[in-house]
Amino acid sequence: MKLWFIALQDLKLLKANKKELLLHIIFPLLVVILVMTLFAGKPGLYGEAFFVSQDGGALATDYLNRIDEVKGLKVFLMEEEEAFNRLERGDILLLTIIPSDFSEKISEGDIPSLEIWKRGTGGQSGQLIISLLHSLLGEMLGEVHLSLMVKEHVQDSSFFQEDSQVESFMNSLFILSRQVPALEVVEGMNSPSQGSAAFFFPGVITLFIIFSLIFHSQSIVAERDEGILERMLASGLSKGEILGGKLLGRVLQGFLQMLVMSLPPLLIMGFFTFYSFLGTLVFSFFLAAAAGALGILIGSLSSRKEQALWAAVIISLVNSGLGNTFAIPTGGGPLVEFLNYATLSLYANEGLRSLIVEGASLKSLMPQMGLLLLGAMVFMALSFKFFNCARN
């Protein structure tokens, strides 16, 4: 009962201060609408493909042109030294070298060997690009084989006088077939939840809930400095009740933020199914608990508001920069990888994306919810050890 009263009091304080209400609820709502509007659109492949061509032949050029024609893919032709330097620095994650005998081999119907260099998996679009390189190469080889077969069959006839005539005829057929493909792929979405905007939406939610810990950590220090925590203790509350009430307040506030931020996607953009909306709300309790507990821990460890502010800003930035908030980090080595796994955002984003984009069940998100809950419990246990109601 007392815990609820403390928690509701924190919500009341939020409501009583119009500026804080604006910062915590209205501002995030506006950002959600902005991001959703910016990223609304059809999905597709967005990538960059880097090449070094050791072959100046016509077929190598044709191959590069065909790749360049793929929608959403940009082709960059580079010098070998520069390309390897950039690969070494991690500026590029996938490099394809077209060997000097590429055109010669293809023209004879032989399979040329492409040299593909990767950093890690080759980036988010790397696997797609490699698959595309194979498929376009297969297409070219198929055309060459067909031309060779036609040449062989017509060489004794009087229909074509020269090989070049056969080649020219076949090429015009192939161009025609490419313009009017037998199978046309139309990009579309079964549901808006599979679009780019839906991919970014969980990142926006976690960003705001994580950044709220800046406010939570400072309010703990402020209430201690103002003697409010001492008064609460002397009124008869135990340290555990004060901490529990504060955590519950943070959870309710995080839930409220999540609810308000989810309204535009629910009502206007149609991201949610009924189930994914409910699942998102349930999941938000775990995220809000972990973020709230971390804020309380920072406040418990800080003796001044400035300390709490600085620590909370750094932690929020690390969580938002990493944690797959808007992109999956690919560079930086094991340290970045470790930090990424240590962020709350990672588990929150994974969970929310699975719910919203993939339509996963809440049950399948037990590991993420469990880790967030474990985080909350560890942060609260540490807070209990370091929390002090008395002013310094």
């Binding site: 007392k2 009091q9 409010i228 002397a234 009124s235 008869g236």
Partner: protein, 241 residues
Amino acid sequence: MITVKDLFKSYNGKKAVDQVSFSVNKGEIFGLLGPNGAGKTTVLRIMSTILNPDKGQVVIGGFSAIKRPDMVRKIIGVCPQEIALYPDLTCRENMVYFGVIGGLSRKRALERSEVILRQVKLEDRSEEKVSSLSGGMKRLLNLAVSLLKEPRVLFMDESTVGVDPRSREAIFKLLHWFKEQEITVVYSTHYMEEAERMCDRVAIMSAGRIIALDSPFALKKKADPEGNISLEKVFLKLTEE
């Protein structure tokens, strides 16, 4: 009502309270006097169960403040030096909040709020935000909150600092009322005139120790048998020594 025995507290090796012992009778108004840093607030915070001493005993209403702080908290009221209130909430909202977390039902907290706000002459401002009150009114409300649970013992830490004469007079009237109600008050201040006027007995503290303890009249008599000396002069004389 209160027994403090051989209290000792240090911060980072520096003595804040050193061998402090005294007792306070039921219904008595007991003053803790001393310059800044004398240890008054530390003694009050230990008695209020907010701090634990390094050594010594504090017994309030028969319960040890160290071993049974939960029981002590049921009978005490604490008025801290700071305005420990939520500025964005109204006077009534603050009163009800601290009343409920102190163990009162919401209905009882509302009833008590009405009574006490009337007593401190803030009933007309009950729906105003604390941030809009004057400094003196905030002090009165700060004191009012500590009375919600009808405490048997009240700790007041520098409750008249920065208060206008009208609000100070209101606080003095409340102290008289406490006396009538047999509420035991431990009152820390560095206004000697106040202590002389209000307190039954005073303890003068310096560098964490009690250097004199008696009624204001007896202390003055000791310093000047003719009695032509103010408590402030006695205090200055003792703290200089």
